[in-house]
Subunit: 211 residues, 2 copies
């Protein structure tokens, strides 16, 4: 039975059905993005794979970029919680491994490359992508705050700058240089970010002085 | 006169004409990529804007990805030479500013996002992109070698890892987080990379120990 066929009233909650349609559509969209990228993403094909009526998909998501935006919103909701190893270096290494694991996962890595590609040419997708990273970076802010409390790093450290510094080398490998996103890269990313944080490179004051 | 019309033999060297056709086609391809991204890049449109016959463009470049690959090869050839400020921090700051200037230039920034998007879904474009970064990173290797000679950083430092660390945070801002690629970001990128290099984070030995 297709997910948007009429259902006997009362047999399934309307909210439940709506949520299941969204799940099926986003799963299909994610699969197609991972398989073929953003350039060829087609709403009709997504509908067919999700076994949902075309009209439903066009009405609710409107464009491929609209679908990418909702997929990113969904991905942000399922963001993994931050770690608490007791040291900044330990927490940043966990963070680097989490990011690295995502980018090297066959489906996830290709999906990330596809949504980033979408964001390069579409403002709706770009806004959704930035919101996704806002959520991801905010989730790990307590690690930086704990390091400040422990006196490991300056009080005026910018958490977003530290966490971006951990992710950045891994994304650069995935998207630009093509170098492997391996354990050595994850360790170097975490160590370099921890060192720089300890030395005050990522303080708001350092940022302000160059504005 | 269109660039691929027949030209009186002897009036212009054949190599010169071929080079001019390539220049015109790559300029048009770059403009269209910067304006509309990779997804809609069309060889016929490139030919029209370059005032070159469609057949010439299809025969020589075959696909939009083929055009992106040749554009990247051309961009690598015009790579800017490395600086020599006398300190690693100084050279890395110059490198960060050069990368930052490219990524924030309206045409160049959009062009880079477009070719990176192309590389996410096409192997030919991806290979060309990696070769482009090989060239760019190699061009600046003497700065790292000079820092080793001066005794600023360990002898077994991996130049590519240091230089990637400078570029990475700027690319992460452009492609993922959407944070501004500003002077503060460039300074932090250079300082963090120099600090990590001085502390042996980017040595081949450090890399090997985690393999």
């Amino acid at each position: 039975m297709s997910l948007d066929e009429d259902i006997t009233p009362g047999s399934i909650r309307p909210g439940g059905r709506t949520a299941r349609v969204r799940d099926a559509v986003l799963r299909a969209a994610g699969d197609l993005l991972a398989e073929h990228g953003f350039a060829t993403l087609d709403l009709g094909e997504v509908a067919a794979r999700a076994e949902v009526g075309k009209t439903t998909v066009y009405r609710r998501w409107r464009t491929p970029a609209g679908l990418v935006a909702d997929l990113l919103a969904d991905m942000a909701e399922t963001s993994l919680p931050h770690s608490d190893t007791g040291t900044l270096r330990g927490d940043l290494l966990e963070n680097a491994r989490l990011v690295g694991k995502t980018l090297t996962d066959p489906r996830q890595g290709r999906l990330f490359r596809a949504v980033i590609a979408a964001a390069t040419s579409d403002d709706t997708a770009a806004t959704a992508l930035h919101t996704f990273y806002d959520t991801r970076l905010r989730e790990w802010t307590p690690c930086i705050e704990a390091a400040i409390t422990r006196g490991e790093i300056p009080a005026e450290t910018d958490p977003r700058a530290v966490l971006s510094a951990v992710s950045a080398p891994l994304y650069y490998r995935l998207l630009a240089s093509g170098d492997p996103v391996d354990e050595a890269a994850m360790t170097a990313a975490a160590e370099a970010a921890a060192l720089a944080a300890r030395n005050g490179v990522f303080t708001f004051a350092a940022k302000k002085s160059t504005d």
